[in-house]
């Protein structure tokens, strides 16, 4: 279906090759994962498939790419629209209309399909992607997973032979991600659509894919069956790290496979690991707060206490009230009722320098905090604001991401680099409390571990609390001491990470699923327990 022969790509005004000498063939009905570090060229590879690169972006392309026998040299991306459907990273950016049905019909409208065909196809797609209950809904009111399914439907309605998706699950909670992936699975298996998908959260997609294209940062790349590539790759999901740590014969890609191989380990008896000390002093005190948007309640009578030096993760479905709770705590809005104190102060009354010193907040969209025209300018501004020696913020940033370009515009940075920039600006103020909203979207495993280490250091070194809302169960397992689980604006579970994650099948990390009923969440937990026994 898709043939890359000796493909290399160089962008204009750039000296290094993004891809070098890449050759592979993808057959009809295959599901292929493209993985690699942030900025390694995954998106470029995806957009080579329908010719957006180089026809829209410019660049030097060596070798040849053909899709269903058509070379992308000779045709413009528009002429491949019926053949290749593309779904971008953030589905909201791609929507043209307001209503689900209209969005599905839009691309057919543009290609001048007869009305009866459009009618029929819209019905087909609604059924195929289980969207019929949503057909008359406004797209803006849909949850993230539903929006992603509409975006896939809108791309699929032209009956393309190839679907290309860029990080389709990165903004979704585990359940919504599962929904999207099972839809893709159905398209591949029932309709022989070829699917190419780029994703950082390997643990979610790995069991669905047939093959992996692994792009290393240095232009090298390899392609092969999933378990073969994962054997030697640097970027691997927890389940593969577990297999490596335990020296298993085969690298399984699904929980089931690894579970079969680890039966003997699960059957051994271990002394329970020592419990980390509980923190005592209360830093954030939330007393019976409620908040609603119009008539829609977002938080109902929520009370909790966050202690000094504690890393607390807030989890829950999209729309469960996580962001609203964080907004209340940082003082973006006063709650309708109830009271919040942060180190004894009312967060809505904090102003200017005192606010920066009291609460560090990294919003869901980190670029909302960036106004400068270059990384350098942002860092210098942070130094001035916090009366630090020139270069302190930059030094912090360089520690987080060593290869950042100092002259780049903040909006041109990759998702991970931008987050690191915002984090170092916020940390340079040395705030008493750190609050982060969905911080690991678009981060690869390496960036995530650097990021986790920075947070841990902040929490332990200064004995200060970190509060983060996230869907990323693996991050929570590695990082958090305590988990608050929100549903419909109420706290439904509040306890140690171990208790909360183990008790919920959907939110359990991979290692816990493999090792259940043993109380281990991460590879390190397992290794520690085994080491203790010997």
């Amino acid at each position: 279906m898709i043939t890359f022969s000796n493909v290399s790509l160089i962008y204009p005004q750039s000296t290094h090759t993004v891809l070098e000498d890449l050759s592979f063939q993808i057959a009809e009905g295959e599901m292929v994962l493209v993985m690699g570090e942030t900025g390694a060229g995954k998106s470029s590879l995806l957009r080579l498939v329908n010719g957006l690169v180089p026809h829209h972006t410019g660049g030097i392309l060596a070798g040849d790419i053909s899709v269903d026998g058509i070379s992308t040299r000779t045709v413009k991306p528009g002429s491949l629209a019926h053949l290749v459907g593309i779904v971008g990273q953030n589905p909201i950016n791609g929507f043209v209309t307001d209503i689900v049905e209209e969005e599905l019909a839009f691309s057919m409208e543009a290609l001048n399909f007869p009305p009866d065909v459009m009618r029929k196809r819209v019905e087909e797609v609604l059924d195929l992607l289980s969207l019929s209950a949503l057909r008359n809904r406004s797209i803006a009111t849909l949850s993230g997973g539903e929006q992603q399914r509409v975006a896939i439907g809108a791309a699929f309605v032209l009956h393309p032979k190839v679907l290309v998706l860029d990080e389709p699950t990165s903004a979704l909670d585990p359940i919504a991600a599962e929904e999207v992936l099972s839809v893709l699975h159905r398209l591949v298996h029932d309709l022989s659509v070829t699917v190419i998908i780029a994703e950082h959260r390997l643990e979610r997609v790995i069991q669905f894919v047939d093959r992996i294209i692994y792009i290393q940062g240095n232009g090298e790349s390899s392609i092969g069956p999933a378990d073969e590539i994962l054997k030697s790759a640097d970027l691997v999901p927890p389940i593969v790290r577990l297999a490596r740590a335990l020296n298993l014969r085969e690298t399984g890609t699904s929980v089931r496979e690894v579970r079969r191989q680890t039966e003997d380990i699960r059957n051994q008896e271990f002394i329970p690991a020592h419990v980390r000390k509980r923190h005592k002093d209360v830093a954030i005190d939330v007393k019976r707060i409620s908040h609603s948007y119009g008539t829609k309640p977002a938080l109902a009578n929520v009370s909790t206490q966050i202690n000094q030096g504690e890393i607390v993760a807030i989890m829950g479905r999209n729309g469960a009230g996580k962001s609203t709770l964080l907004h209340s705590i940082v003082g973006l809005h006063a709650p309708d009722s109830g009271e919040i104190t942060v180190n004894g102060q009312d967060p809505t009354l904090l102003k200017g320098a005192l606010r920066r010193k009291s609460i560090g907040y990294v919003p869901q969209e980190p670029s909302d905090l960036l106004f400068g025209t270059s990384v350098e300018e942002e860092c210098a501004q942070a130094d001035r604001d916090n009366q630090l020696a020139t270069g302190s913020t930059m030094a912090l940033l360089n520690r987080l991401v060593p290869h950042i370009s100092h002259h780049a515009h903040p909006n041109d940075l990759s998702e991970g680099q931008r987050l690191a920039l915002v984090l170092s600006i916020v940390l340079s103020g040395n705030p008493d409390v750190l609050v982060l909203d969905e911080p690991t979207r678009g981060l690869d495993y390496q960036a995530k571990s650097i990021f986790g280490a920075a947070l841990k250091e902040y929490a332990t070194q200064f004995e200060r609390p970190v509060l983060l809302a996230t869907h990323d169960v693996e991050l929570v397992a590695e990082l958090a001491d305590r988990v608050l689980f929100l549903a419909e604006g109420e706290i439904v579970a509040d306890g140690s990470t171990l208790d909360v994650l183990l008790s919920s099948p959907a939110f359990a990390p991979q290692v816990a699923k493999v090792m259940s009923p043993k109380p281990w969440l991460t590879v390190a937990d397992v290794v520690d327990a085994l080491g203790q026994e010997k």
Binding site: T17, D21, P54, G58, G59
Partner: protein
């Protein structure tokens, strides 16, 4: 091979621009040219301008616009059209001209012309003020976009802002004159001292017009000029920066090369 550039008039579309512009210039200045009072020759001009505009749009839309130019044009035109009614009520304060001028500066005069005509047309639809005058307003706004070409391309920094602010003043006044010219023959009765006298010598009519213009519309044009120039001075730098970044990001005229594998290593080195 290169990616398509930002829209520019050339070939057939350039000919269409010149032809339709000349026709609509006639539409503005006919009062000075017509020799005697006739029944209704003016109507010909009044109706010719919309048709000229239509002709121009069709010639441009024939494969001269690629998707990136269309997207840019659509976003900026929507922005300008939305900004225009924000100032109504206050005299002549229309916060749209500075965007048009700055965008034309960055994306080139041809693009500026299209942006001016389209956004004026669009804002007329938004405000419901559709009529024959829309074509005149559109052309006048288009010419303002086109006229940005008068500022040297190499100018940067403070001088660029100063030149653009000055251009803002000139263009605000130009727009005032153009609109007055278009209304003048119709609004006053035949018998006042400022009225248009069909068939009178150019000097008489010009004197009448200038007095009319100063009396009736300086209240609109001076605030418009001051407002536009002030906005350019205040927000010019960041807006230019943002637009130039968009220009770079859109990768207009980036080279596309397809080469054989054997040569790739040479290119890299």
């Amino acid at each position: 091979m290169r990616t398509q550039g930002v829209f520019a008039f050339k070939g057939a579309s350039l000919a269409a621009l010149i032809a339709t512009s000349s026709l609509s210039i006639l539409g503005f200045i006919w009062p000075f040219l017509i020799s005697e009072k006739q029944a209704h020759p003016q109507w010909i001009f009044l109706l010719a301008a919309p048709f000229a505009l239509l002709l121009l749009f069709t010639s441009v839309s024939n494969n001269h616009l690629d998707s990136k130019s269309i997207a840019l044009l659509a976003v900026l035109a929507a922005l300008i059209a939305a900004l225009r009614p924000m100032g109504t009520g206050a005299v002549g304060i229309e916060p749209m001209w500075f965007v048009l001028i700055l965008a034309a500066r960055v994306f080139g005069p041809s693009f500026g012309f299209l942006l001016g005509t389209i956004s004026m047309f669009l804002s007329a639809i938004l405000t419901g003020g559709l009529g024959p005058w829309v074509a005149y307003q559109s052309f006048a706004a288009g010419w303002i976009g086109l006229g940005v070409a008068l500022i040297p391309r190499t100018l940067r920094g403070r001088y660029e802002i100063a030149a653009l602010a000055f251009y803002g003043i000139i263009s605000a006044e130009f727009f005032g004159i153009a609109m007055d010219l278009q209304f003048w023959p119709w609004t006053l009765g035949a018998e006042t001292q400022l009225s248009y006298v069909a068939g009178a010598p150019i000097a008489t009519n010009a004197a009448h017009f200038i007095s009319y213009h100063f009396l009736s519309s300086m209240a609109w044009d001076i605030p418009r000029a001051i407002f536009t120039a002030t906005l350019i001075v205040i927000v010019g730098k960041p807006v230019l920066h943002t637009l130039r970044r968009a220009y770079t990001r859109a990768a207009f005229l980036s080279p596309i090369e397809f080469i054989e594998r054997a040569k790739a290593s040479e290119v890299v080195r």
